[in-house]
Protein backbone atom coordinates (compact mmCIF):
# COMPACT_ATOMS: atom_id res chain seq x y z
CA UNK A 1 0.00 0.00 0.00
CA UNK A 2 2.19 2.83 -1.17
CA UNK A 3 1.88 6.17 -2.83
CA UNK A 4 -0.76 8.85 -2.77
CA UNK A 5 -2.81 7.15 -5.46
CA UNK A 6 -3.87 4.38 -3.09
CA UNK A 7 -4.84 6.94 -0.46
CA UNK A 8 -6.95 8.98 -2.91
CA UNK A 9 -8.60 5.79 -4.20
CA UNK A 10 -9.29 4.61 -0.66
CA UNK A 11 -10.94 7.80 0.54
CA UNK A 12 -12.96 8.22 -2.65
CA UNK A 13 -14.16 4.60 -2.48
CA UNK A 14 -14.95 4.95 1.23
CA UNK A 15 -17.03 8.08 0.54
CA UNK A 16 -18.93 6.43 -2.35
CA UNK A 17 -19.51 3.12 -0.53
CA UNK A 18 -20.56 4.50 2.84
CA UNK A 19 -22.59 7.29 1.24
CA UNK A 20 -24.48 4.81 -0.96
CA UNK A 21 -25.02 2.50 2.03
CA UNK A 22 -26.45 5.47 3.92
CA UNK A 23 -28.72 6.03 0.93
CA UNK A 24 -30.02 2.47 1.29
CA UNK A 25 -30.71 3.16 4.97
CA UNK A 26 -32.68 6.37 4.45
CA UNK A 27 -34.40 5.88 1.07
CA UNK A 28 -38.12 5.26 1.41
CA UNK A 29 -38.63 4.00 -2.16
CA UNK A 30 -37.44 0.41 -2.54
CA UNK A 31 -36.32 0.98 -6.15
CA UNK A 32 -34.07 3.84 -5.04
CA UNK A 33 -32.75 1.55 -2.29
CA UNK A 34 -31.78 -1.08 -4.89
CA UNK A 35 -30.01 1.52 -7.01
CA UNK A 36 -28.06 2.74 -3.98
CA UNK A 37 -27.26 -0.88 -3.15
CA UNK A 38 -25.80 -1.39 -6.64
CA UNK A 39 -23.58 1.65 -6.09
CA UNK A 40 -22.46 0.18 -2.74
CA UNK A 41 -21.58 -3.11 -4.43
CA UNK A 42 -19.52 -1.27 -7.06
CA UNK A 43 -17.68 0.60 -4.29
CA UNK A 44 -16.93 -2.66 -2.48
CA UNK A 45 -15.65 -4.12 -5.77
CA UNK A 46 -13.30 -1.14 -5.95
CA UNK A 47 -12.09 -1.95 -2.44
CA UNK A 48 -11.43 -5.54 -3.53
CA UNK A 49 -9.35 -4.27 -6.44
CA UNK A 50 -7.50 -1.92 -4.07
CA UNK A 51 -6.77 -4.88 -1.77
CA UNK A 52 -5.10 -6.59 -4.78
CA UNK A 53 -7.81 -9.22 -5.23
CA UNK A 54 -8.58 -8.76 -8.93
CA UNK A 55 -10.49 -12.00 -9.43
CA UNK A 56 -12.75 -11.39 -6.42
CA UNK A 57 -13.35 -7.83 -7.62
CA UNK A 58 -14.50 -9.06 -11.03
CA UNK A 59 -16.61 -11.79 -9.40
CA UNK A 60 -18.19 -9.13 -7.19
CA UNK A 61 -19.13 -7.02 -10.21
CA UNK A 62 -20.51 -10.00 -12.15
CA UNK A 63 -22.37 -11.70 -9.28
CA UNK A 64 -23.53 -8.84 -7.08
CA UNK A 65 -23.84 -5.92 -9.48
CA UNK A 66 -24.94 -8.11 -12.37
CA UNK A 67 -26.95 -11.00 -10.99
CA UNK A 68 -28.18 -10.32 -7.45
CA UNK A 69 -29.25 -6.73 -8.17
CA UNK A 70 -31.20 -7.85 -11.24
CA UNK A 71 -32.75 -10.63 -9.15
CA UNK A 72 -33.84 -8.04 -6.57
CA UNK A 73 -35.28 -5.77 -9.26
CA UNK A 74 -37.18 -8.76 -10.66
CA UNK A 75 -38.52 -9.62 -7.20
CA UNK A 76 -39.72 -6.02 -6.78
CA UNK A 77 -41.34 -6.01 -10.21
CA UNK A 78 -43.04 -9.36 -9.50
CA UNK A 79 -44.62 -8.02 -6.30
CA UNK A 80 -46.43 -5.00 -7.79
CA UNK A 81 -49.29 -4.62 -5.36
CA UNK A 82 -47.04 -4.88 -2.32
CA UNK A 83 -46.15 -1.26 -2.93
CA UNK A 84 -42.82 0.46 -3.36
CA UNK A 85 -42.76 1.56 0.24
CA UNK A 86 -39.54 0.78 2.11
CA UNK A 87 -40.52 2.32 5.42
CA UNK A 88 -39.39 1.29 8.87
CA UNK A 89 -41.06 -0.97 11.41
CA UNK A 90 -41.61 0.03 15.03
CA UNK A 91 -38.16 -1.41 15.73
CA UNK A 92 -36.54 1.67 14.16
CA UNK A 93 -35.12 3.15 17.37
CA UNK A 94 -33.85 -0.10 18.97
CA UNK A 95 -32.48 -1.31 15.64
CA UNK A 96 -30.55 1.86 14.90
CA UNK A 97 -29.37 2.06 18.50
CA UNK A 98 -28.06 -1.52 18.34
CA UNK A 99 -26.29 -0.83 15.03
CA UNK A 100 -24.66 2.33 16.42
CA UNK A 101 -23.50 0.52 19.57
CA UNK A 102 -22.12 -2.33 17.44
CA UNK A 103 -20.26 0.12 15.20
CA UNK A 104 -18.82 1.86 18.26
CA UNK A 105 -17.58 -1.44 19.72
CA UNK A 106 -16.09 -2.52 16.38
CA UNK A 107 -14.32 0.80 15.85
CA UNK A 108 -12.98 0.82 19.42
CA UNK A 109 -11.59 -2.71 19.04
CA UNK A 110 -10.15 -1.99 15.59
CA UNK A 111 -8.33 1.16 16.66
CA UNK A 112 -7.33 -0.23 20.08
CA UNK A 113 -5.67 -3.37 18.72
CA UNK A 114 -2.00 -3.36 17.74
CA UNK A 115 -2.03 -4.99 14.33
CA UNK A 116 1.72 -5.45 14.00
CA UNK A 117 3.86 -4.68 11.01
CA UNK A 118 1.83 -4.87 7.78
CA UNK A 119 3.16 -7.56 5.50
CA UNK A 120 4.06 -6.96 1.88
CA UNK A 121 1.42 -7.47 -0.77
CA UNK A 122 1.06 -11.27 -1.01
CA UNK A 123 0.04 -10.81 -4.65
CA UNK A 124 -2.63 -13.49 -4.95
CA UNK A 125 -3.50 -13.97 -8.61
CA UNK A 126 -6.51 -15.72 -10.09
CA UNK A 127 -4.36 -18.76 -10.87
CA UNK A 128 -3.23 -18.99 -7.21
CA UNK A 129 -6.85 -18.90 -6.12
CA UNK A 130 -7.82 -21.49 -8.71
CA UNK A 131 -4.99 -23.81 -7.63
CA UNK A 132 -6.05 -23.47 -3.98
CA UNK A 133 -9.70 -24.15 -4.82
CA UNK A 134 -8.72 -27.25 -6.79
CA UNK A 135 -6.33 -28.69 -4.18
CA UNK A 136 -6.86 -27.63 -0.54
CA UNK A 137 -10.48 -26.58 -0.89
CA UNK A 138 -11.69 -29.10 -3.44
CA UNK A 139 -14.30 -30.73 -1.15
CA UNK A 140 -15.92 -27.42 -0.11
CA UNK A 141 -15.73 -26.35 -3.76
CA UNK A 142 -17.73 -29.38 -4.90
CA UNK A 143 -20.14 -28.94 -1.99
CA UNK A 144 -20.66 -25.33 -3.07
CA UNK A 145 -21.66 -26.48 -6.55
CA UNK A 146 -24.16 -28.94 -5.05
CA UNK A 147 -25.49 -26.16 -2.80
CA UNK A 148 -25.94 -23.82 -5.77
CA UNK A 149 -27.80 -26.46 -7.76
CA UNK A 150 -30.06 -27.30 -4.82
CA UNK A 151 -30.75 -23.62 -4.11
CA UNK A 152 -31.63 -22.83 -7.71
CA UNK A 153 -33.90 -25.89 -8.07
CA UNK A 154 -35.55 -24.90 -4.79
CA UNK A 155 -36.01 -21.32 -5.99
CA UNK A 156 -37.64 -22.51 -9.21
CA UNK A 157 -39.95 -24.82 -7.27
CA UNK A 158 -40.93 -22.01 -4.89
CA UNK A 159 -41.94 -19.51 -7.56
CA UNK A 160 -44.01 -21.91 -9.67
CA UNK A 161 -47.59 -20.75 -9.97
CA UNK A 162 -50.37 -22.94 -8.52
CA UNK A 163 -51.68 -23.51 -12.05
CA UNK A 164 -48.38 -25.05 -13.18
CA UNK A 165 -48.31 -27.29 -10.12
CA UNK A 166 -51.87 -28.48 -10.85
CA UNK A 167 -50.86 -29.28 -14.43
CA UNK A 168 -47.89 -31.32 -13.21
CA UNK A 169 -50.01 -33.18 -10.68
CA UNK A 170 -52.39 -34.37 -13.39
CA UNK A 171 -49.63 -36.04 -15.39
Amino acid sequence: MEGGGAAVAFWALAAVTLGAAGGVVVSRNILHAVLFLILTFIGVAGFFALLSAPFIAVAQVVIYVGAISVLMLFAIMLTPRAGRDNGETRMLLPGVLLAVCLAAVFLFVIYDTTWGVPADDPGITASDLGAALMSTWVVPFELASVLLTAALVGAIMLVRSPREEAEDAVR
Partner: protein
Protein backbone atom coordinates in the same frame (compact mmCIF):
# COMPACT_ATOMS: atom_id res chain seq x y z
CA UNK B 1 -2.57 9.55 4.64
CA UNK B 2 -1.97 6.04 3.29
CA UNK B 3 -4.73 3.57 4.09
CA UNK B 4 -3.73 1.09 6.77
CA UNK B 5 -5.42 -2.09 7.92
CA UNK B 6 -7.43 -0.09 10.47
CA UNK B 7 -9.05 2.04 7.78
CA UNK B 8 -10.21 -0.93 5.71
CA UNK B 9 -11.51 -2.68 8.83
CA UNK B 10 -13.33 0.49 9.87
CA UNK B 11 -15.09 0.68 6.49
CA UNK B 12 -16.05 -2.98 6.84
CA UNK B 13 -17.37 -2.42 10.37
CA UNK B 14 -19.42 0.63 9.33
CA UNK B 15 -20.88 -1.24 6.34
CA UNK B 16 -21.79 -4.16 8.61
CA UNK B 17 -23.52 -1.85 11.08
CA UNK B 18 -25.48 -0.16 8.30
CA UNK B 19 -26.52 -3.57 6.95
CA UNK B 20 -27.65 -4.59 10.44
CA UNK B 21 -29.66 -1.37 10.82
CA UNK B 22 -31.31 -1.96 7.43
CA UNK B 23 -32.23 -5.58 8.09
CA UNK B 24 -33.56 -4.81 11.57
CA UNK B 25 -35.66 -1.79 10.67
CA UNK B 26 -37.01 -2.19 7.11
CA UNK B 27 -40.58 -3.30 6.68
CA UNK B 28 -40.24 -4.66 3.13
CA UNK B 29 -38.87 -8.22 3.03
CA UNK B 30 -36.73 -7.34 0.00
CA UNK B 31 -35.34 -4.40 1.99
CA UNK B 32 -34.39 -6.79 4.79
CA UNK B 33 -32.61 -8.97 2.24
CA UNK B 34 -30.64 -5.93 1.04
CA UNK B 35 -29.33 -5.44 4.57
CA UNK B 36 -28.25 -9.08 4.74
CA UNK B 37 -26.42 -8.79 1.42
CA UNK B 38 -24.69 -5.66 2.68
CA UNK B 39 -23.54 -7.49 5.82
CA UNK B 40 -22.18 -10.41 3.77
CA UNK B 41 -20.34 -7.95 1.56
CA UNK B 42 -18.76 -6.17 4.51
CA UNK B 43 -17.58 -9.51 5.90
CA UNK B 44 -15.98 -10.24 2.52
CA UNK B 45 -14.25 -6.87 2.68
CA UNK B 46 -12.90 -7.68 6.15
CA UNK B 47 -11.69 -11.14 5.07
CA UNK B 48 -9.87 -9.71 2.06
CA UNK B 49 -8.34 -7.00 4.25
CA UNK B 50 -6.86 -9.63 6.56
CA UNK B 51 -5.72 -11.63 3.52
CA UNK B 52 -4.00 -8.58 2.05
CA UNK B 53 -2.17 -7.72 5.28
CA UNK B 54 -1.10 -11.27 6.19
CA UNK B 55 1.76 -13.47 5.05
CA UNK B 56 1.77 -14.89 1.53
CA UNK B 57 1.03 -18.56 2.30
CA UNK B 58 -2.08 -17.83 4.33
CA UNK B 59 -3.45 -15.05 2.14
CA UNK B 60 -4.91 -17.39 -0.46
CA UNK B 61 -7.10 -18.96 2.26
CA UNK B 62 -8.85 -15.64 2.72
CA UNK B 63 -9.51 -15.39 -1.01
CA UNK B 64 -10.90 -18.94 -1.12
CA UNK B 65 -13.14 -18.17 1.85
CA UNK B 66 -14.47 -15.04 0.13
CA UNK B 67 -15.25 -17.11 -2.98
CA UNK B 68 -17.33 -19.50 -0.85
CA UNK B 69 -19.10 -16.64 0.93
CA UNK B 70 -20.07 -15.14 -2.45
CA UNK B 71 -21.41 -18.54 -3.58
CA UNK B 72 -23.51 -18.99 -0.45
CA UNK B 73 -24.75 -15.40 -0.68
CA UNK B 74 -25.89 -15.95 -4.26
CA UNK B 75 -27.75 -19.13 -3.29
CA UNK B 76 -29.31 -17.36 -0.31
CA UNK B 77 -30.43 -14.41 -2.41
CA UNK B 78 -32.07 -16.68 -5.00
CA UNK B 79 -33.99 -18.66 -2.36
CA UNK B 80 -34.95 -15.60 -0.31
CA UNK B 81 -36.30 -13.70 -3.32
CA UNK B 82 -38.22 -16.80 -4.44
CA UNK B 83 -39.71 -16.96 -0.93
CA UNK B 84 -40.68 -13.29 -1.14
CA UNK B 85 -42.46 -13.86 -4.46
CA UNK B 86 -44.14 -16.99 -3.07
CA UNK B 87 -45.36 -15.15 0.05
CA UNK B 88 -46.61 -12.29 -2.12
CA UNK B 89 -48.59 -14.77 -4.22
CA UNK B 90 -50.39 -16.10 -1.14
CA UNK B 91 -50.77 -12.94 0.98
CA UNK B 92 -50.41 -10.06 -1.56
CA UNK B 93 -47.82 -8.45 0.69
CA UNK B 94 -44.11 -8.68 1.46
CA UNK B 95 -44.48 -6.51 4.57
CA UNK B 96 -42.75 -8.38 7.40
CA UNK B 97 -45.14 -6.76 9.91
CA UNK B 98 -48.13 -8.30 8.16
CA UNK B 99 -46.68 -11.79 7.61
CA UNK B 100 -47.90 -13.06 11.01
CA UNK B 101 -49.71 -16.29 10.21
CA UNK B 102 -48.07 -18.16 13.12
CA UNK B 103 -49.09 -15.47 15.65
CA UNK B 104 -52.62 -16.76 16.08
Amino acid sequence: MTPDIEHFLAVGALLFSMGLAISLTKRNAIGVLMGIELMLNSVNLTLLTFARFSEGGRAVTGHAFVAFVITVAAAEAAVALALAVSVYRNRTTVDVDRINLLKS
